[in-house]
Each structure stands twice: as C-alpha cells, then as structure tokens.
Symmetry: C2
Subunit: 392 residues, 2 copies
C-alpha cells in the first residue's frame, strides 16, 4: 500500500466506548493541507459537523489535523459545541497549529454527553504515537458496528512523477444501531487549491457516497473530508486534474461500495442501473426508489426474480415514464420487456440471484438519455436482529 506523502496517523483508546478498542484517531498533515468537505443534509446536525464547517470557513479551506472519535456522536447534547471546541483547541495547542485548522469528527450514540477530558487526557499519547505508517490503525479506530475495515488507495503517474490518494471510511450503511454515522477521510499528496478540490469532491461524492443506501436513513454526523497537502511536489495541470478527478471518484466509489457490502445484516451487494430516463435526476430518483424499497430488497435476499416489485417501486419514485416501454434485466437476464413479463427460466435466474453480487438494470426507452448507477444491499432478518436490540 502506497500512502500519500506528508501525513501521519495515530490511534488510541480514550474510554469512550465500553469495549476496549481504540476509539480516537488523529490524522496530521505535515504542512497545512487544502481541504474540501461535504456534510450531512440532515436538519439535525451534530456539534462536530457545525464546528468542522465553521473551522473550514475560518481557515479558508486549510486543515492541519483531523481528530475523530467513535462511540459517541456528540449530537443532541447540552455541551456538544463546547466539547468539540475544547478538543480542537487542545490538539491545536499541542501540535502548534491554528485551532481553525483542526477538523473534528464524531460517530456513535446520539443524545449522550461526551466527556471532553477523556479525549484531552489521551491526547499526549495520541500525538506521541503519530507515524506515517499507522493508516490502518486510524482506519480501525473510527469503526463502530462495521465488521471490516474500509480503505482504498490509488497511484497516478504524471510525467514520471507520482501522486497518491488514500482513503478510509466507516459505516454499515446509512443505518446503524445507535451510532448513526458515515465518515470518510481521503488524503492525497497532490497540490490542489481548496476551490478546485471542493468541486472535485462534490463531483466524486455525487457518483459514490450519494449513490449508496442501506435503508435511506441519513445520519446527523455524516461527512467526507478530502485533504491535499502537496507533499508530492506536484500541482496537476488542467488535463492532469481531469485524470486525478476520475481516480478520486474511483477511490470514493470503492469506499462507498465497501460500506454497502458491510451493510447491517447484508449478504448481497445490489447494483442498480437506470438508462433512458428523461434526465439524470429522474434516473437517480428511480434508482433510489428501487434501492430503498423493502419489497425489492427482501426479494433479492430470497433470490426471488420478482420484477413486478421493481416496476412498482420505479412507478413510485414520483418521476413520469411510460411503463409500457420499460425493460428490466436481473443478473443480465431480461425479465420484463415493454412492461410485461419476458420469457426466462425462473429456476436458472434464482440460482444466479444466489450470488453475492446482484444487478438490476432498467432501460426506460424514454426520450432522454438520463442514466444513474446506485448501490444498495439486501434486507435480511439479521438486520432487524441488530437494530431491534436494546442499547446495552
């Protein structure tokens, strides 16, 4: 694994979660990095989301350190802002960077006060532990109900010189027992100014994090942060930036798909593709409607080629289309042609749907060329079991 130059990582156990497993992580850029971030659209936003947004504005898009804790979302609490600010201030003082260059993030239970001293007490150890090699340790520390670590990385060659991108993320989908958060942190050693970086991140998120769903719930703490510290000495030109943006999208798509694959109780990754919609937004809404239909998700769990549920979910997306023109493919088998049943072997298709990766493809044959790709997972009994349990 080739990591971007100029970043150091650290992780420690601060005692926020009951299980003794690292619950704080620190990412430090040796020089202030250009930063771009996207945040949850939920009207209820956690304190770290507010403070991170504020710091990013104050610093004009520069980040020197990212402080992340798991086990407590620092959301819907009396002391939320104060706790986030106190922790950032402590990091700033000990690293000797401006406070507004410290970016806070939290994930965990909502509505429980977070004790700042748990974090500030462990901070000297956390800083002492900083190392360019502890990327995986940091990626482990930010997990909550995740069953696997989620990282992705790529290299790009520009005129015999190399630029690196590496990212870590967490989340068992949008939904988790008490800790409702998806976080993503992506580092690169390319030199890219904040406004360009923001545009790149927005485009990449649109194709990745914004196209996944486990059950349609958006958390109060979601955020994806992209840092570019320029440590590679390379400032991509316009053509190179297009290439960089494409690879960045691949990294984010890789991370996002890892979240869906690890969706609570999920056995299968479902890829939904729409084409021939009036425009991209219409395609996205139809894909999203299918992805969030429990009818469709349980059918896939049961390997049932029940295309009527898919057609009905599409019809429910609030987007006009002609049902009598719709073709539906499952695992590349035509199951519905012109809105009515196609001829196919149900038994063969059932076997194909037993695979870990399932595809649903709708060709709307409308007037437009709007398309969208969306990822979701199947809905199983295990999901209910996980989410109906008491918080203990």
């Amino acid at each position: 694994m080739t990591l971007p130059l100029g970043y150091r990582y650290s992780a420690a156990y601060a005692g926020i979660r009951k299980v003794k497993k690292n619950d704080v992580a620190l990412i430090v850029s040796d020089s202030p990095a250009s930063a771009a971030a996207v945040f949850t659209q939920n009207k209820v936003q956690a304190a770290p989301v507010r403070i991170a947004r504020f710091h990013l504005t104050q610093s004009r898009g520069l980040v020197s350190a990212v402080l992340i804790n798991a086990g407590n979302a620092n959301c819907a609490t009396r002391t939320g802002d104060r706790v986030a600010i106190a922790c950032c201030d402590a990091v700033a003082k000990q690293l000797r960077v401006p406070a507004e260059q410290v970016f806070p993030a939290s994930t965990g239970v909502i509505g429980v006060e977070l004790d700042a001293s748990l974090i500030t007490n462990i901070l000297p150890d956390l800083i002492k532990g900083l190392s360019p090699k502890k990327f995986a340790q940091a990626a482990q520390a930010i997990l909550t109900t995740d069953t696997v670590m989620k990282i992705a990385h790529q290299k790009l060659a520009f005129k015999r010189r190399t630029v690196r991108i590496a990212g870590m993320t967490k989340g068992s989908g949008m939904i988790q027992p008490n800790m409702a958060t998806t976080l993503g942190f992506v580092m690169t050693d390319a030199a890219i100014a904040p406004p360009i970086l923001s545009a790149m991140l927005a485009a990449a998120v649109k194709r990745s994090y914004n196209r996944i769903s486990v059950d349609g719930d958006t958390s109060t703490n979601d955020m994806v942060l992209l840092l570019a510290n320029g440590a590679s000495g390379i400032q991509p030109n316009e053509k190179e930036r297009a290439h960089f943006a494409e690879v960045l999208s691949q990294v984010l798509e890789d991370l996002a798909k890892q979240i869906v694959r690890d969706g609570e109780g999920a056995h299968k990754l479902i890829t939904i593709e729409i084409s021939g919609a009036s425009n991209e937004e219409a395609a996205d809404r139809i894909a999203r409607g299918i992805a969030n239909s429990p009818l469709v998700k349980t059918a896939i769990a049961g390997s049932d080629p029940n295309w009527g549920r898919i057609l009905s979910a599409a019809g429910n997306a609030g987007v006009p289309f002609d049902p009598s023109k719709v073709d539906i493919y499952m695992q590349d088998v035509l199951v519905c042609q012109g809105g009515v049943a196609a001829e196919f072997s149900e038994q063969d298709l059932k076997s194909k749907l037993d695979e870990r990766e399932c595809s649903i493809r709708l060709v709307l044959h409308g007037r437009g060329t709007g398309g969208a790709r969306f990822w979701t997972c199947d809905l199983t009994e295990k999901y209910i079991e996980i989410n109906a349990s008491y918080r203990t």
Copy 2:
C-alpha cells in the same frame, strides 16, 4: 352489525388463487349509487385502475356493481385492459346495468396474465348468490396475505331517521409479498351527489388511508371506493353533511388502522403525532419520515426508547425546524426536551413500550400550529421472512 340498505353482496371461488378460498366478490347497489373514488399515485397503474377511472367518468359518477378479484393484480400484463373490460361487460349484461356502471378492482400478483373466463364462468353463481347479508363473505374474499378480515360500520341519526355506513378493506400494509394492493369499499345508504361525495372522500382519505404506512411502498392497484345509493331516503342537509363527513372519516380511520395493525410481521401499532410545525404539510412530512424509518421501527420492535433515532428521522424529512426546541414523548413519557435528553427511567419506559400500542409525540415549538397524526407498525424479523420467500 347494521348494514346500509339497498346493497347486496356475494363471493365465490373462481380458481384465480391456488388455495381454495373465495377469490371474487360482487357488490351490487339496487339503484345506481353516487360514487367517489381515489386511486394509487403510482406511475405504474393496473388495468382495473384505468378502467374504473374511465367508467366513473363515463357514468358521471354512478356505480351499480363492483367486481373485485383477489390473487391476481391484473397489472403489467398484455391483456389487462381487455380482461377488465370483458369482466365488466359480463356483469353489466347479466345484471342489466350499463357497463360503465360496473367498477372493477383487482389485487394479487403483478405481471401474470389473468384469465377472464375464470371470472365470467363463475359469474352466474356469483349473481345467484347475491344477498344483503353476505357483507362478511365479500370482505373475506378480497383478502390476500391479510391475517384478519377488516370491516367497520357506523350509524348516524338524522331527525329520528338513520343513515348507515359500512366499509371493508384489505392489505397487510402498503407492502405485501407479491400482491401489492390496498383496496377499500365503503357503502352508505345516504343520498349524496357525486361531487360532494368526492370532496368528502378526499378529506376522509387524507386523514386515514393517506396517513398510514407499513414501509412506504405504494402499490399499483390501490383504490378506495365510496358508494351512496340513497336507499335510506335521507339526503343530509349542509349541517348533517358535516356530521356525516366526520363519521365517514372515523370509519375510514378505523379501516386504515386495521391495515396497519395487520401489517406483515407487525406486533405493534405505532401512532405518531406532530404538533407545532410550520404547517400541516410540514407536520405530515415529519410524521411520515419517522413512520418510514427502519431505525425507529426496529427500535419500537425491540422496546428501545432510542429517541435519537426519532430526532434524526425528523431531521431527515427535508422540512426546516429548530432541533434545539424539539420535545419528544414516547408512551407519554418525556424522553427529549429542547433537543437533548430528558430525565426518565429507561427501564420503566422499556416495559411500557412492550405494549401492543405505542405512541410517539413530537412538539416542535415552531412558529406554526401545523399538526399531523400518522400510523405505522413495528418492523420485525417476521416481515423479512414473509417477503424474502419465493413466490410459490
């Protein structure tokens, strides 16, 4: 049970469903009844929805007979319209009423051709069996995965004379294994003209059928039909109409709640009440957002007073409000005050949440007085089990 005057009912087994259980029902009004109907908003609409809508326009809101089949939705098939028309024509001929006064309805699997002769062959028997007393038999015949029959009735006294309302419905919520339909048929012997009847039905549906959800899926066949044949000899005046409209709403609310209570795999009926929203639509969207959150529904299944999920789901509804002003009650216990945790006994509340009826109440303390009431059910493993099974 006092049934409205001037209606007769019948049920028979036509062989549409595999299990030998009545699968066709006929409702006949002795004189052409004023009719009002609401239909699914799904872009994919079943043939009987199209034909029913067309007949209602052609007849200027008069219905003499309602023909309902279960076991096949007559949706997304090659012959859908022809089958619905052939069946209506046969009923019209044998009852000697205009074809446009026959109202068709279907519920069952999508995408499978329906054989019209199954219905036309049984029709003579069905007509022979017509009786004012076979209301329950008809109500039984329209069920699919429902575990209980769903009927409601009321009497109203106007100046020592009586008007009656009786309704039947089906559905295990919006979602069902392969047969995705909710149907409702409500009869009254009051005399009310079609345009007034339509307005009354729209208002009543808004407060009942449009405020329930099992999982947010709207089917291709949903419809609610209201008939008023005037057999009581009473034409309510304006003041009496207000009373009638109120009682009609109660009947529909009763029927709608029976659907939620019988939601697939559901153990609990959840009532969600919102107040202090900017307007009624905002309140409705927040209530709907909470009702459709798997996080909230699984928490209630597990008797977990996890109010953070409720607040997060509200924040996700796309409606602006101030989270720091929100109070949340569960089973009338204040669990969140001003957006943060209130003091309550978690153990006591858990016991209270074990009851079969659960309430969630949000007071937004916003500038408006918008309120909404919404009903949903908990989400259990049984739901997945039912829906992930093969169609057999």
